[in-house]
Symmetry: C2
């Protein structure tokens, strides 16, 4: 019997165990590992365990630790998915996947592909034609090959090439994209085709020409022409008595919240089993998928559509954070593990950080008669990961507060995906922005799927939406100012729209518990973020592969294994086979184990200010109690006081003290 | 010649001067002052001065300091508006306002009205009927009387009465509303009528009955039944080298920004003359008006519609802040002044606070090949005021950052406006939420008007909106994934819609300056907040008084004196006579001195968790450069480093160090 909690992330020992089990199961066959990770236990098996924990009762036997593995047989190239039982050290199942199903990109594969590409004679020949000055080289980002052929079954890699003008670890090669792009077979490592890229406003391409020398737009501090600012003073956060949280393993307790920090290779950070003051709120919260389709219509750019969760994985791409660089204040880090292609466990240090932050005032009221004020600050707990997906960076944070709110914040930063563009003569395109000499950044969208598995005081909930609507012109509304709310229960699985015009909010309620004051079922609500949905045409591969991104709200009946909005295998997928399929079952979802998937995000038509590295753009979604309590749950947070906060008054210049003279001085 | 800057707020000496000028102008007449404040100089007079300052050139002669006064003549009760020249110490104009024009509420008036009401025999008789236990008293909030009679010209005050169950400076009387509401004439101080308030689901009222004793839902820390949390550890912000800003009078310099902090009685905080790196960005930014209409259709609640800027004033209601209570870190405060009814200057201490804050990461990129990362944190400058408008609190902050972004953040907190409601038997209404025994909080909206007077590299700008739209199905778009942007210039003054579906953004561009890289005019963009507009019927007084709240975007040609979206006099207004009138002039606004007014806000259907004091709800609007620079303007911000940030690692418990045992421990 393992000492691990059923929801603990995979351990290095378990990775090694999985390799041993598979080696026994495939004797004499060399396996290339793509992924070995925890398979979360079936919900009906783990909930009794979690409930016993929550209630402080004797816990039942743990569900078996299951491990999921994806690998290639090197004898015949076939791609397998296996489920292993770590307790019994046995194979539960091992299935060969149909031809054409592509697993996610892994780190070793990406590094290998870079080498294969750069060493290929055809690529070398193209580089030669650039006639680069001495010391300059070429590098590449191997890109997911978005589907445009329903019959394609090869694992294809589109290599986007860039000129490296400076031998520096942070040289910005994205400033100098090339106009050729070799396509390789990722399995045979053979060159499939040399694509030439359009450099003007249409799809026309030319043979590779000598490089028209332009300067790189750099972002690294020591490559900038201008001096750094010298007038920024230190800003230090101190918690002299330590943090307000307690951490044991992956279990966290903070300000009436308890939850488990989960980590897996695909989604990265997950919050499990979130309770507030001993009451269930959410069973599982994660960013289940995202897609980044590009709006540049010209081949081969029409294939640029990343699924950063399914194609690669936020766990795999999570940054190993460092104190004082990525995080300010008193920081707790969590590690994770992945395997390499040999099945060796690789420790991922500090991939999740957790810290408290002060977010201004939470509530205040001054009685104007007495002048007496109650002021409570908004202390928050931030659990964060930062993912680098080639050029882009995403910063994901779950932010909990003392009023029982949970926010999912996403910040987009990093470097725009760029293309070569002959913009020196003033040329522009309507689907992108010139961001430097010879370089254009195409418009694109970032659409995230936030998977919310609620447990509002129990595991059977009902999703409904509530609109604010004017009252009709009648006796009840003689002055024509009345408005009311209208409720619509989602009774069968399906999708729904957001509506700014109707101030639509979505709620999770527990029909079996009535709030004694409001006389309505207790609930949490979702402050959804109404966003422009996928712009690609419904008939396009771009849309067929990402149906989740065509609707802002999906509601499904919970089933084990249904975790990823875009389907299990997104890499070169032809159809998404994800949440739209599960929602389409027309399952009854009223007062059931229900899951809500919220698609939100950004249409990102680049600003030149987003280059060479992008000031973060922030989007956020909030979950708030709504009739879950009988009053503001943060009332018992101690008042804001100078004795506690130790703030400092800005000194007044001596010349100004008590004088109107200050008005005379000009900056 | 005054030593004051033309945009400096009014000084106490100027208030005294205004009183002296008016006393001379109205010899022998006793005046009751409602407001004495700065009248900002005409734009065409002050801009040459500001431009000379910006360029470091010899400044031209300052425009005259003008003062605006509102007062009643006590000999005949007439209401006057006067404009005074402080330099020449003379009256420019003094006009009697038409009958029925009501000035804003002032502090003395409100305090007097409370006394008048409580001392009135009819009110005492009603209180008597409540048969309150010994020690309990009644208090009131004098409310703005929303218009429902086009012929009404009296200044009316609707007094909402509450039971004070505890003699404590922070007792929450809003928990115990009464069912009678006297209406007074604010000038004669005579009782006009005793309104009785409905207590059930319809408009039926009854005579005042003995009070059915229920307990008060308290928010003050020392009135809570439950103990305070004891596990919140101190969180201290230190700037050992001081702040990064420089302040001289009301002029501020911080991280390439320069601006002037303005303060007036009506809008409170205003930002003037905002430049970045010596370039003009915005001439003036302010919250020009807001309206809070209630959705309860029952008389007299249909009259509940506050205009917190025009009816009272954010300057008047701004909290006098205190170090360590309202503000964390290194804080600079600004004071303001108002006059009392005698014309005596009243100092408003610390009504604006300014401080730096750390807002996580601003940009990051890791080169995955080298592992080398550039990390820059997001230091912000926050200029904030907190306004208490009877029961509610609003926290307004302009937040500037190092990437040339300006955010307007609004937080709503404070106490819900409540009504008595017989909810003990499970009764509910569709226009409100039961928030305690015998008390209901009606649904309402908060609609703000953000007035943006742009100066994007000059004072002639063009407003346009840009939508993201799919490309048609044609040769240019064979794979059906292309999308482009569509621009629509606003050529004549008017209004426009937001559109989530089209990802509409509004931009301010300078047609005379082309960005050398993008080949498009330089611009700033507005990240508007699409919100549900006013729900009141267009024919209702609620809507006619607040036309600004019926459209999210208004564009007008600048004219001096056109500052307030709801018109100059909102108190008991019958029509708004504001931005909709100015926009309706069909002025040419392309490449002109243009002003954009953005209506945004919240439909607030109360949660019980918003009572007895509301965890803040945050809305925000952002202004961002878009082609204003040629690259990310924050590139030169120094990197985030531990030597600078001095973060702390959370200690690992000894039991866990380097061991898998940690998994065994349960919280």
């Amino acid at each position: 019997m393992t000492s691990l909690h059923p929801l603990d992330p995979i351990t290095p020992g378990e990775i090694q165990l999985a390799v041993r089990i598979l080696e026994s199961a495939f004797p004499g066959v060399k396996l290339r590992y793509k992924r070995i990770d925890l398979q979360e236990p079936a919900k009906n098996e783990v909930v009794p365990y979690l409930e016993a924990e929550r209630r402080g009762e004797v816990r039942p036997r743990k569900p078996a630790r299951l491990l999921a593995a994806m690998f290639h047989r090197l004898d015949n190239g076939s791609f397998y998915k296996a489920l292993l039982n770590a307790d019994t050290k046995s194979v539960v199942s091992a299935k060969e996947m149909p031809k054409g199903v592509q697993g996610p990109v892994d780190v070793d594969e990406m590094i290998e592909m870079e080498q294969v590409c750069l060493n290929h004679p055809a690529v070398k020949a193209e580089i030669e034609k650039l006639n680069l000055p001495a010391g300059m080289t070429v590098c590449l980002d191997p890109w997911i090959y978005g589907t445009d052929d329903p019959n394609e079954t090869r694992r294809l890699v589109q290599c986007y090439m860039y000129i490296v003008a400076h031998d520096h670890p942070q040289n910005n090669h994205y400033s100098l994209p090339c106009k050729f792009s070799p396509v390789f077979d990722g399995i045979t490592q053979q060159l499939v085709r040399m694509d030439y890229l359009p450099g003007g406003g249409d799809s026309q391409t030319t043979e590779t020409q000598p490089w028209n020398q332009v300067s790189t737009v750099q972002y690294a501090h020591d490559l900038l022409d201008e001096p750094l600012r010298t007038d920024l003073k230190p800003y230090i956060v101190q918690q002299p008595e330590g943090a307000s949280f307690t951490v044991v393993g992956n279990a966290v307790q903070w300000q009436k919240w308890r939850f488990r920090v989960g980590f897996n290779n695909r989604e990265g950070l997950v919050l499990h089993n979130v309770t507030y003051d001993g009451r269930n709120t959410f069973y599982r919260l994660s960013v289940s998928e995202m897609t980044v389709p590009y709006g540049d219509p010209r081949a081969p750019y029409h294939r640029k559509q990343a699924f950063d969760v399914g194609d690669v994985g936020f766990g795999i791409t999570a940054n190993q954070l460092s104190l004082g660089c990525d995080c300010l204040g008193h920081i707790k880090y969590f590690d994770g593990y992945r395997c390499d292609s040999q099945g060796t466990p690789i420790q991922l240090n500090n991939v999740i950080c957790m810290h408290e932050q002060d977010n201004g005032l939470q509530h205040k009221h001054t009685n104007y008669r007495s002048g007496a004020a109650t002021v409570v600050r908004n202390r928050q707990l931030v659990i964060q990961m930062i993912c680098t997906v080639a050029n882009y960076e995403y910063i994901f944070a779950f932010i909990l507060d003392q009023a029982a709110n949970i926010e999912l914040e996403v910040r987009a930063t990093g470097i725009l995906s760029t293309v070569a563009f002959d913009n020196q003569n003033g040329q522009t395109v309507p689907w992108g922005t010139n961001v430097g000499p010879g370089v254009m950044a195409p418009s694109h969208q970032h659409l995230f799927s936030f998977r919310i598995d609620p447990a509002v005081d129990g595991f059977r909930n009902t999703v409904y939406y509530e609109d604010s609507v004017p009252m009709p012109e009648d006796d009840q509304n003689p002055w024509l100012v009345g408005y009311t709310t209208e409720q619509n229960v989602i009774k069968t699985s399906g999708s729904a729209s957001t509506s700014v015009e109707r101030h639509r909010v979505f709620k999770f309620r527990n029909d079996s518990i009535t709030n004694p004051i409001t006389h309505k079922p207790i609930a949490y609500k979702l402050h959804a973020m109404p966003s422009q949905m996928l712009l690609a045409h419904p008939k396009s591969f771009g849309s067929r592969r990402a149906r989740f991104a065509t609707r802002p709200i999906w509601v499904t009946k919970y089933q084990d294994g249904e975790l990823y909005a875009g389907g299990e295998f997104t890499n070169q997928s032809k159809d998404s086979n994800g949440v739209e399929v599960w929602a389409g079952r027309n399952d009854p979802v009223e007062n059931e184990d229900v899951v809500l998937w919220h698609t939100f995000g950004l249409t990102h038509n680049p600003r030149i200010e987003d280059f060479p590295v992008m000031p973060m753009e922030r989007v956020s979604v909030m979950l708030r109690p709504d009739g879950f309590f009988t009053k503001n749950p943060a009332l018992d947070v101690p008042p804001s006081a100078q004795s506690f906060n130790q703030s400092t008054l800005h000194p007044e210049p001596a010349c100004c003290a008590g004088s109107q003279d200050k008005h005379q001085v000009k900056l």
